[in-house]
């Protein structure tokens, strides 16, 4: 019998037999729309996924299954739009709760997505095929040489290629970078006049070391910005989220967040039980909304947690006991060979700054008002705040999770998140005396460098981490 590679792919990525028959045709259509050829599917099935993902774990397979279902769903956005479903986009980083709340309020009337990040992580992460999107953007007004963000380029290209429709509203966040929101203005003015945007921003004007979540005026300003944005979006699409729906969404989000906390705690075991890659991928359900909901991925996470607990109990894992564990800013999910290369050199990229929460970050908010609470949560996050406070949080994370070293970088394209990494490295190293490193690179787009170019750098970093670890 001739092997159907599309079917094999779905099987590998955790689809049950009954699901395969239901999804096979949709997956063929979706992959065609996304520009994935049969060869690409074969490469992912036979080489890339087995190489970078431990598919012996059900939790990993089910995780991939959720990503594939979501990307199939994304390719139906045009269809949804034609049916009158309201299309709402956003970008990273943002507060996904608001989007989940809209979905909860009107599940059949709303489509929510941060399309660029899904496309980037799936297309590059699993197929290594983001280049056509990036090149599409680069030939149409977003030049290669300036180091623009691959996510912004992908969003623009996805619209140009007709993969996604114009949104009813793109609620765009510039709480971190300038380029994200301005890309939406670019798309509207340069290519698609129907691309409607609402922008939420906050200036980076806090003195080094300011504990931003404790500055009431700043929390209030951000809360006002969020309220303004959320109300504008609801008005635009004609859907009202009730306070109960909002509270319920926050409860679901918090419950999931607690489970991610548990996964992180398990990652501190003497033997690192799983690669940091799936762990970070589970965390992504908190960063952006899944149109198919958080429930399927939460079910997968429950399975993952069981498996990880079992591994910890059995003292099984991916590296020998007491191997160094490092933390990265954001896990390069779209460039999975980076974490693999660390692991091959005896170091686990076990944690991300975004998700290894401190006690303060996990504590309940001091505010009852949901906007104030969300603003406060946001201002406890390292990526959003001044480097002085950010360094303070990172030092606490390192102590809490027993982290041996920090790997900054891979954010060349981001004039906020990436730009202070060298400064942060100095501030953190001065306080913790733990080794910190900065690697120039791009965690979404690896066209500019290859594994061999980085291997020597990663090998030497790993050697230092191992020596420091063995020296106690």
């Amino acid at each position: 019998m001739v092997k159907d590679i599309y079917q094999e792919f779905l099987r590998l990525t955790g689809f049950e037999d009954f699901e395969i028959s239901a999804y096979l045709s949709a997956w063929r259509m979706a992959s065609e729309m996304l520009g994935l050829t049969k060869d690409d599917i074969t490469y992912a099935t036979e080489e890339r996924i087995p190489q970078y993902f431990d598919t012996t774990l059900v939790g990993v397979k089910k995780l991939l299954c959720c990503y594939i279902k979501e990307i199939i769903d994304l390719t139906k956005a045009n269809e949804y739009k034609q049916k009158g479903i309201k299309i709402i986009y956003g970008i990273l980083p943002a507060l996904s709760v608001y989007y989940y709340a809209l979905k909860m309020a009107a599940p059949d009337k709303v489509y929510v997505s941060f399309p660029d990040i899904f496309l980037t992580q799936v297309l590059n992460g699993l197929f290594h095929k983001l280049s056509p999107y990036l090149e599409e953007s680069e030939k149409a007004g977003v030049p290669y040489g300036c180091r623009h963000c691959a996510l912004n380029k992908t969003r623009y290209a996805a619209r140009r290629l007709g993969i996604i429709p114009s949104p009813d509203v793109s609620w765009i966040w510039g709480l971190v970078c300038d380029e994200g929101p301005k890309t939406d203005e670019f798309i509207r003015y340069y290519f698609d006049p129907e691309w409607k945007t609402y922008v939420t921003r906050i200036p980076h004007d806090q003195t080094l070391g300011t504990v931003e979540d404790e500055v009431e005026e700043r929390v209030q300003y951000l809360a006002d910005q969020m309220r303004d944005g959320f109300e504008a979006v609801q008005k635009e699409i004609g859907i009202k989220v009730t306070p109960d729906q909002m509270n319920e969404t926050i409860a679901v989000w918090s419950r999931y967040s607690t489970k991610i906390g548990e996964l992180n705690r398990l990652m501190t075991s003497e033997i690192q039980p799983i690669s940091g890659l799936p762990s970070a991928m589970y965390g992504e359900a908190l960063s952006r909304p899944w149109n198919l909901g958080i429930q399927p991925i939460e079910e997968a996470l429950d399975l993952m947690l069981e498996e990880v607990k079992q591994r910890v109990a059995n003292k099984e894992g991916i590296l020998p006991a007491r191997s160094p564990k490092a933390m990265v800013n954001v896990m390069p999910i779209a460039v999975p060979w980076i974490s693999k290369m660390f692991e091959q050199n005896g170091v686990g990229l076990a944690f991300t700054i975004m998700r290894a929460l401190t006690k303060k970050q996990m504590a309940p908010s001091r505010f009852k008002d949901p906007y104030m609470a969300m603003a406060e949560t946001w201002l406890k996050r390292t990526t959003s705040v001044n480097p002085g406070y950010s360094a303070q949080i990172i030092c606490e994370q390192m102590a809490t999770y027993g982290i041996d070293g920090l790997i900054f970088g891979f954010f060349d394209f981001d004039r906020w998140v990436g730009s202070d990494n060298k400064l942060l490295a100095k501030l953190v190293e001065a306080k913790t005396h733990k080794p910190t490193f900065h690697i120039e690179g791009d965690l979404w787009d690896d066209r500019d460098y290859n594994q061999e170019a980085l291997r020597t750098r990663i090998e030497s970093i790993c050697e230092i981490l191992k020596m420091r670890r063995s020296a106690g």
Partner: protein, 391 residues
Amino acid sequence: MVSIEDLAQLARDWPEYLRKSKKNGKKIIGYTGSFIPEEMIVAAGAVPHLICRGGESEAVEATLPYMLRFISPYSMAQIGYHLLGLDPILPMLDLIIAQCDSCHMARLADLFEYFNLPTFRLGVPSDWEKSISREYYYRGLARLRTKLEEITGNRITNTGLLKATDSSNSLREVLHLISLLRKRARPPLGGFDFIRLNHFSFMSETAVAITNLRRLYEDYQNKKTPFPGDAPRLILAGHVVAMGDYIVLKIIEDAGGIIVNEFLDEGIRHHCWNLPAAGDMGHLINELGERYYLQRTPPSIFQPAWEARTEYLKSLIREYHAEGVIWYQLCFEEIYDMECSIVSKAMDELQIPFLRIESSYEFSREAMAPLSTRVESFIESIKIKTRNLKW
């Protein structure tokens, strides 16, 4: 009779002037952008100093141990000279008011603070159409007033602020008059001189600058053009021409073009609008804020901005009979890079020749030759186009 060289000399003496002023008990306040009303600094009895140097790659490279390589060379140069020990002014500043309108400028503020330079950050929200954002900026100005009063020990009074705005308006007016001379078919000066004059206006006492510029304006009225008759009329657009970053301007005009106007967001005294000339204190600060925040053409970082900016550029082209646009961009400035594509498309539609020049402040011999060739070819192509149209 006064010459540009006289003003240039005053600018060269500026560090010495600041040193003496400081010795005489005056506070010296630096500031980094065009959203910071220098009138408030003057009204507080301090001497304002615009931090806006550039044009040398060494200053940018000096920041690399602390900052990402892909940050604007302009932002990094503002601290880079200090790190190299080549900035006589930064160490004597009693306060730096750091404009935080973009990531690039906010990171500059981080570095000021990291190197223990006394810094006050002024947040400039870019979502300018919202009332909460405007109010945020106005509150920032109110805080700035308190800070300036604290540093100088002087109260900013209504009279003081009005006097400062009056001087500042006079300075803007005379600069505007000089700029308008470039509307003439045979302008007595081009952009190389005008931008330097504009810069010099930041580097001498306001009263002295006004007097000198008025004299210069009188002289210019009867001055013959130094440009050939067929010199293409150009508009220079982009983010900033920093003090000292004059090579590109010189190349353009040496190659036979005239810069008849510029459309720059920073490093320039905006002279097309004036400040309020009356009002009580609370009202005045808000009015000042409103003029600075809302009256000008929105800078590129604002959102939305690009439609209004393109329209404004088109109006400049019409008013100044410009035949071409040169987009001067600093490398890794991602917002201007995207805007460049928008402007380029609009110019295409208008059939206005457009040239993009990108600089990292690297003006080595190897870099200069291709740059000059590009500019010369661009100017030549406009001349050919014009000649063909005349035939």
